[in-house]
Symmetry: C2
Subunit: 141 residues, 2 copies
DNA sequence: CTTGACCTGTGTGTTACACGCATGTTGTAG
DNA sequence: CTACAACATGCGTGTAACACACAGGTCAAG
């Protein structure tokens, strides 16, 4: 199978398949006649595995580790559990950050509703941004 | 003032100040003797403005636009309002995505609690990931 | 005068691709 | 049989906002 075929079967774009080959996530055979990459059923299941892992929040780097780990015959499962637990914590933190950003933005729009646009001078760039007051944490990431 | 001074006063790391100079967000003078960047009070207020804008979700690119827009004498406020309203929508979408990821990850960990680690063979890389069923009913907690 | 803290510019790495380039290959319509 | 579209190849660049490293120049104090 060629790139387009395997991409269609795995429901991925050919670009992504090429990218995964490039970074070593999949290792297709080669057609000796023309140098084209040759994919088989095992590549498809690997691609499907990668996509499943991605929907669970694993990064490509982590997936690569999982794959090569399992190639050595040892179970990647303990690693898989460890990673996802850390990711849950990280994600909760980022969610909190984004939620507070969302609140901040909504508050700003609300405050600005009753304010006119200002003309910039030497002291002021944009009175909206400069005048915005927020009560609690200013955290951004 | 030198980088370290202005960074301390604006409560930013010197690296970030250098980065902002590099991408043209601030344009410090130069010491003709040694080529060092020379910052003054206007740079500090610019840095503070940039940080305020960032806490409101504006990207550095957008902030650059806002700054140069206000340099032409026209009010950046309409643009500022437009950007934040779009950002609120985008952010809500990303929040939804991250929330569903969070739920998915938590469901996975829950399912996996009752499962043993598997040994990899030709057919299986990691039974945990492969067996995870993405049941939409579970998502509604 | 040496030392150490600071400055300079530039380059690389981070994530997961998207897109473009120049070039080589294949399949098919005329 | 050949022209041409549609595919393939590798490689390079760009994305956001820095962090960090490197090699070298500068400055104040002892």
């Amino acid at each position: 199978m060629t790139v387009r075929d395997v991409a269609t079967l795995a429901n991925i774009s050919p670009e992504v398949v090429r990218y995964y080959s490039r970074i070593g996530l999949i290792k297709p055979q080669r057609n000796r006649k023309n140098g084209y990459k040759l994919y088989d059923a095992s590549d498809i299941s690997r691609l499907i595995f990668i996509r499943r892992a991605k929907t669970l929040g694993y990064t490509l780097k982590e997936i690569k580790n999982i794959l090569s780990h399992s190639n050595t015959g040892t179970s990647p499962c303990p690693m898989v559990r460890r990673i996802i637990e850390n990711r849950i914590d990280d994600n909760r933190q980022r969610l909190d950050d984004m939620l507070s950003l969302q609140t901040r933005m909504e508050n700003a729009v609300e405050q600005w509703k009753h304010m006119p646009d200002g003309t910039p001078d030497g002291d002021s760039v944009c009175i909206l941004i400069e005048s915005f007051t927020h009560d609690n944490n200013m955290e951004v990431r």
